[in-house]
Symmetry: C2
DNA sequence: TAGATTGTTAATCGATTAACAATC
DNA sequence: TAGATTGTTAATCGATTAACAATC
C-alpha cells in the first residue's frame, strides 16, 4: 500500500467504495470492472482506477477487480479492522441515538464510555456502554488510550471540551456540535471531522430554491 | 443576485459564511474585509471575494463588507428566510433528536409532521410536532405542499420510501440512512443531501491511522 | 490467440490564487 | 488626498478525464 500525498477528494470517496463493494459482495457479485463500478456509483472508470492506484495495484488486466479482495483492501486502507478507543461526550438525544444505533466497530472503533453531567444518567448503561460523570472524564483519559472523542454536547461547551480533550492527547474529534472550534497551533496534528446538520440542510435549501 | 452556474464547492461554503458572519454579528463586529474573514475561516481573501462575486457585489472598496448586510445577503441566497414544508420519516432515536433539538426554521423549513409505524407513538406529539402513522403519509403529502422529507428510518426501507416520496412530488430528501438510494430518471430534478455518519467516521479513521 | 481491462501517462477541465485597475 | 480594499481578469495549481501500451 503505497501512499504519496492522497488528496482529500480521493479520501472522501473511499468509504463509498467500501459501501458499494460490501453491497456487491452481499449480492454475491464476485468480480467487477472499473467501468461497471463507475456506472454503479456515478463515477468514471478512469477516476476509479486513478483513485485505487494511489494505494496499490488491486486489479488484473482483462478481468477487473475481485470484489471481496478489493473490499478487504479498501477496508484496510481505512483502518476499519482496528479497534481504537473512543468516548462520547454529551448523552442527549443525539448522543443516545449514536450509542444505541451506531456501529462504531464497523468503522474501527470501540466505544468505551459516554459522559454527561446529568445525575440521573450517571452510573447507568445504554446498550452496554457505561455513562460516567463529566468529572470522571479527565481521569478516564489518563487511564485509557482514547483515540477519538465524539462531541454531542451543546455547542457552547464545544470549545472548552475540545481544548481539554486535545490537551489530554485525543487524536481525533468527531464533532456534531454546530460550532467550528479553534485548534491551537500545538494541536495541529489533531484531526477534526465535523458533521454540521444545519450546513447540510442549508445546502439542500439552496438547491431546492423557491 | 446574479447566478450563472455556481460550483458545488462554492455552494458548500455558503453555510459556513453564514455561521461566521452570524457569530461576528453577535460579537458586535460591524465591518470586515475579505482578508480578515479569510483569516477567521481559513480561506484566502481571493477565494472569498471570488465566491461572493458569483452572487453580486456586496462590498465596498476601501471599506470591506458590512457584516449584518452580508449576513442577510448570504441568508437570502440560501433561502433561509423561506418557510417551506418538511416532514420527518422514522421517529427512532435520531428522528426524535432532530424533532426535539434541531431548528428547522433556521434553515428555511417548517417541520409539519413526523411519521412512524409504532402504534405507541402514533397520535402523540414531540416538541409540538404531531407523530402520524405511516399509512397517513400519502394522504398528508396530497394535502400539503411538502418540499423536503427527512429520512431517519432503517436503511432497508429507504429505497421504497424515497421512491414513494419522489412519486408524490417531494423536491428534496435529507437522507440520514446509511444507504444511497437510486433516483429514477424521471426524478432527476429531486435533490438528495446525504448525511452518512459512517462515511464521516471512516474518513476520520483513515486520517488518524495506526 | 483475441478480447477485455488494467495502471499510468498525457490532455483537459475546473477551482483556487495572484495581480491590479477601479474607487470608496 | 492617501490608504485600503473591492471585483475581476489572468496565472497557477490540482483534479478529472481520455488515451494507450501492457498483459491477463
Amino acid at each position: 500500500m503505497k501512499k504519496g500525498k492522497i488528496s482529500n477528494a480521493v479520501i472522501r470517496r473511499l468509504p463509498r467504495y467500501c459501501r458499494y463493494l460490501s453491497s456487491l459482495h452481499r449480492e454475491g457479485v464476485e468480480r467487477i470492472s472499473s467501468s461497471a463500478l463507475g456506472n454503479n456509483m456515478g463515477l468514471t472508470a478512469s477516476q476509479i482506477r486513478q483513485d485505487l492506484s494511489c494505494f496499490g495495484e488491486f486489479g488484473q488486466q482483462g478481468y477487473g477487480y475481485n470484489v471481496e479482495k478489493l473490499y478487504q483492501e479498501v477496508s484496510e486502507i481505512l483502518y476499519l479492522h482496528k479497534q481504537r478507543e473512543a468516548v462520547l461526550i454529551g448523552v442527549g438525544n443525539l448522543g443516545r441515538a449514536l450509542i444505541q444505533n451506531f456501529d462504531f466497530s464497523d468503522s474501527g472503533f470501540h466505544l468505551g464510555a459516554a459522559f454527561d453531567i446529568d445525575p440521573a444518567l450517571i452510573g447507568t448503561e445504554i446498550n452496554g456502554i457505561p455513562i460516567l460523570g463529566a468529572l470522571a472524564l479527565e481521569n478516564y483519559l489518563a487511564e485509557h488510550d482514547v483515540a477519538v472523542a465524539v462531541l454531542t454536547l451543546p455547542g457552547r461547551y464545544a470549545q472548552g471540551m475540545a481544548d481539554m480533550l486535545m490537551d489530554k492527547g485525543v487524536r481525533g474529534i468527531w464533532n456534531f456540535t454546530n460550532f467550528d472550534f479553534e485548534v491551537k497551533e500545538e494541536h495541529n496534528d489533531v484531526v477534526v471531522e465535523n458533521i454540521h446538520f444545519s450546513d447540510s440542510l442549508r445546502v439542500l435549501s439552496y438547491q431546492i430554491g423557491e
